[in-house]
């Protein structure tokens, strides 16, 4: 029964997201000729954070609501996606527009917490995060709309698998390049880690968070990264599809691993951009993506 696939989605993402983050950190360290933490370090971090005390500087409900809300939004996203190549019971009841908005809801939760924490650095980070969200959401949207336009359906399976199949057109090729260029922004890594920018605004939105609250935010971030890496594989690498559910899960996970290594290499070799520079890059990417959708509508 495909309701079981919902649980598979959630479990795989909950269990493996920290591992991929570990790969990311390890690869980054190796690129910088450091030893780096063990690959399982993110699990240790999360466990440790769950037991530490929660420092609350804000004393309002929004501050407390934000971390579980961010966690819940991304969990809802991964529950719905056609992971393993087939649309599950719940994913069939919604469409791509729902997933796009749910990702935005996760971002909003971060902003809500940041602004509720009353910290000035958090507010700066929130402002940058919002700007980034506004500018990269259309790129994500158009990646899915490309598939929707080709298969004339916004259903999740059609939107995700429609872009590059059947037949790899010019539109998909252009969108692939755009997605790769936007990938670092999707996963908030250098050169687009502008909102958190540890050495500049001290993790921005998260500055006042500690203990399990911070842990939930980190966990949500890890799952978000895994989602975007998975989406690249699912949309643009149709040749990884085996036709079997478990086989597809395996190939998609391997593909995701490769994307994480790519993210780490790009991230560790590119310095951070300023927000105004980044916004211009996003604007150009949006226009190119719109062109790609145009190609898809024209049937190229």
């Amino acid at each position: 029964m495909s309701i079981a696939a919902v649980f598979v989605n959630v479990l795989v993402f909950l269990l493996l997201a920290p591992l991929f983050d570990g790969v990311l950190r390890k690869t980054t360290a190796r690129v910088q000729t450091r030893q780096g933490p063990p690959i399982v370090q993110p699990y240790y971090d999360l466990f440790k954070l769950l037991g530490k005390e929660r420092i609350n500087s804000a004393r309002n409900w929004a501050f407390k609501l934000a971390p579980p809300a961010a966690f819940a939004s991304i969990l809802a996203v991964v529950a719905l996606i056609p992971f393993g190549g087939k649309v599950n019971a719940l994913g069939g009841r919604v469409d791509a527009v729902t997933v796009i908005y749910l990702l935005t809801l996760g971002g909003v939760s971060v902003l809500l917490g940041a602004l509720a924490s009353r910290n000035t650095f958090a507010a700066i980070g929130a402002s940058r995060e919002m700007v980034t969200m506004v500018m990269i959401e259309p790129i994500l949207a158009m990646t899915l709309i490309l598939g929707a336009a080709r298969s004339r359906s916004l259903g999740l399976g059609a939107a995700v698998f429609g872009a590059a199949g059947p037949g790899y057109g010019a539109a998909a090729a252009v969108m692939l390049v755009v997605y790769l260029l936007a990938l670092q922004a999707f996963v908030a890594k250098q050169p687009f880690d502008i909102a958190e920018a540890e050495i500049e605004v001290l993790e921005g939105p998260f500055i006042e968070y500690s203990g399990p609250d911070y842990g939930l935010f980190r966990y949500a971030m890890m799952m978000k990264q895994m989602f975007y890496a998975w989406l690249f594989v699912a949309v643009f690498l149709p040749f990884l599809r085996t036709g079997h559910y478990l086989g597809d899960i395996l190939t998609q996970l391997l593909g995701t691993l490769a994307v994480f290594i790519l993210i780490a290499v790009v991230g560790s070799t590119n310095p951070r951009l300023r927000i105004d520079q980044a916004v211009k890059i996003y604007a150009v990417l949006i226009l190119i993506a719109l062109g790609a959708v145009g190609l898809a509508v024209a049937g190229v």
Partner: protein
């Protein structure tokens, strides 16, 4: 049937007229005047609801009537569409009348005579514009009855220069809108001033290209001016909405702007002569859609730049009306179809337009009243001076938060369902024109900008910090009689969001019970959207049996709820304790008025990118 509905309608009008006479006489006893106004408005609202219900669900019949005033007769129409919009006017009017009673305490020295005389007349005028069935004498009477009282209501705080100027602009442009609409029929050969709309529509069927272009151009400009489309709305709307007393702002934005939308729908989706080869529905649809897309993008970007809470809400009203206009345009562009699949999308778009009009009436009402609560409690609407109200005004904050999520179209709120219909129908219309896909993408992008506006509104007013230093008085939650109407609107907003099939059913009933609807055929086909899928919405498959788009708020709510529970569980799992500490700014300084984050830096990168859109937060 006809007599059944026109009797309660005229009775409601009489009650509103009585309110305009009775309440001002009692104006010295301020609360009593407010209560009398409320009682009469409430009675009229109940009657208007009955009329609306009757026109939507009562026994079908010919839904027109005439009103005789001495020698002249005015044709009236009481169909489903009019009934739907009458419901909006009645609901927001009722909420606003209750809210006004305590809100007007802000102006202790001022006579309330003109306020209570104009308030019911304004409602009467709006209801009149909805039911008159001509662009002649009846329309003129109703329009003036709407505009002139509204002018005095906007001008209520008349000692401020800004208010007087905004009210003057309001009057000038509303009279201009009236002129444009009344001139429209005169452009068509054989039409006279005062022809009933069905007569007019008949003559449009034989008219040539130039008169048609002139007629629809004038009506687009006139009703567009009223609804506030770009660039016409910017001329008067932000000023009028932001300087009016808050309950009036809510009426202007939630109810009055809908009369413009109503006019556009009547003109383009009822009177458009589908059989006339001189009328190019596709081109007109694309024009209207382009106007809508420009309106929603630019209005929302301008909203993002505002630092005055009510101006932000006003500009964002322009943006939301843009969604409705876009959907009307998409429906018209797809109206003369290439196949059944396309007419499904056209029907989805027009359902989305009306659904969004309903939703906007509710959540913008909530938000403007929230703005009123802030003004009532703090005396300022400058976001730079506010901040941290969440602890002081928890109910208002919760309502503002829900309203913000709804207007940004977050899943499981009401805005999601309607924006979903609009975006899905334009994106899926790709085969019929790439430009519609572009409009759909613009609408999606603008949703994120809307979110930015309301992150700013909620963030700077309710969370963050500032009011403790900049508001020189103790801040308290608003009184119960102001919160009650807001809570009622919130409840409706939640229902609209969680059970979209209800609203869609209402909208469909309205369209099915309206004669002359351009897409009546499409609406009748069994494939049309959309209450389906266990209280969710679905669009039937365009390419196959699988549904091509779907929204299911309850599924989303379930998943997010389970996620929240899991998150809460994880938070407790490690036995962590909560401790309190002051805000940490790297240890150099404590948080103070001098080092908090104000409007200037907010979204600076985006503002620089969208410099071309204008809309500085000027005074």
């Amino acid at each position: 049937m006809t007599a059944d509905l026109s009797v309660p309608l005229l009775l409601a009008f009489a009650l509103l007229g009585a309110a305009a006479l009775a309440a001002p006489l009692l104006a010295r006893r301020r609360t009593l005047a407010g209560v009398v106004n409320l009682a009469l408005v409430a009675a009229a609202a109940v009657l208007l609801f009955l009329v609306g219900y009757g026109s939507l669900f009562g026994p079908a019949g010919h839904a027109s009537a005439t009103l005789s005033l001495g020698p002249v007769t005015i044709p009236l129409v009481l169909d489903g569409l009019a009934g739907l919009f009458l419901g909006i006017v009645a609901l927001i009017g009722l909420a606003s009348a209750l809210y006004s009673i305590r809100y007007l305490e802000r102006f202790p020295g001022r006579s309330l005579r003109s306020y209570y005389a104009c308030f019911p007349l304004f409602l009467l005028g709006m209801a009149g514009v909805l039911v008159v069935d001509d662009f002649g004498l009846g329309f003129t009477l109703a329009w003036q009855l709407m505009t002139v009282p509204a002018f005095f209501l906007v001008r209520f705080e008349r000692e401020a220069k800004e208010t007087v100027r905004a009210a003057r602009n309001f009057l000038i442009f509303m009279e201009l809108a009236w002129l444009l609409v009344v001139l429209g029929p005169l452009a068509v050969p054989g039409c006279r001033f005062g022809d009933a709309l069905p007569v007019l529509a008949g003559k449009l069927g034989q008219a040539g290209g130039a008169p048609l272009a002139l007629f629809f151009g004038l009506l687009l400009a006139g009703f567009g001016l009223k609804a506030g489309v770009f660039p016409l709305g910017q001329l008067w709307l932000p000023g009028a909405y932001s300087v009016a007393p808050s309950p009036v702002s809510a009426l202007l934005s939630s109810a009055m702007s809908k009369t413009g939308v109503y006019g556009l729908i009547r003109a383009f989706l009822f009177m458009a002569p589908a059989g006339n080869p001189a009328f190019d529905a596709r081109t007109w649809g694309l024009v209207v859609a382009a106007v809508g897309a420009a309106t929603l993008l630019i209005g929302t970007i301008q909203a993002m730049k505002q630092s005055d809470a009510k101006r932000l809400l006003a500009y964002s009203s322009i943006g939301q009306i843009g969604y409705i206009v876009l959907a009307i345009g998409v429906a018209l562009a797809l109206a003369l179809p290439a196949g059944p699949a396309v007419s499904v999308l056209a029907a989805a778009a027009v359902i989305g337009a009306l659904y969004h009009a309903l939703n906007h009436a509710i959540f913008k009402g909530m938000l403007f009243l929230t703005g009123g609560n802030i003004l009532y409690a703090t005396g300022t609407k400058d976001l730079n001076k506010l901040g941290g109200l969440i602890g002081l005004m928890p109910v208002t904050a919760a309502i503002a938060g829900l309203g913000s999520l709804a207007i940004a179209g977050m899943p499981a709120t009401s805005g999601f369902g309607s924006k979903w219909l609009i975006i899905a129908s334009s994106v899926l219309a790709g085969d019929s024109g790439f430009v519609l896909v572009v409009f759909g993408v613009i609408a999606l992008f603008t949703s994120a900008v809307t979110l930015a506006c309301y992150v700013k509104f909620f963030g700077m007013a309710f969370t963050s910090v500032g009011s403790e230093w900049n508001v020189g008085r103790p801040v308290q939650e608003a009184p119960a009689s102001m919160l009650v109407p807001m809570i009622a609107l919130t409840a409706i907003c939640l229902v609209q969001g969680l059970f979209p099939a209800l609203s869609v059913g209402l909208v469909r009933a309205a369209l099915e019970r309206s004669e002359g609807f351009l897409l009546a055929g499409a609406l009748g086909s069994p494939a049309v959207p959309v209450p389906s899928r266990a209280l969710g919405l679905g669009l039937p498959g365009l390419g196959g049996p699988v549904s091509s788009a779907a929204a299911a708020p309850l599924v989303v709510l379930l998943l997010v709820g389970l996620g929240l529970a899991l998150g809460a569980l994880l938070r407790r799992a490690g036995g962590s304790k909560e401790v309190s500490a002051p805000t940490w700014l790297c240890g150099y300084q404590d948080l103070s008025n001098a080092n908090r984050y104000t409007d200037r830096g907010m979204f600076a990168g985006l503002r620089a990118l969208f410099k071309f859109a204008g809309g500085k937060s000027g005074k």
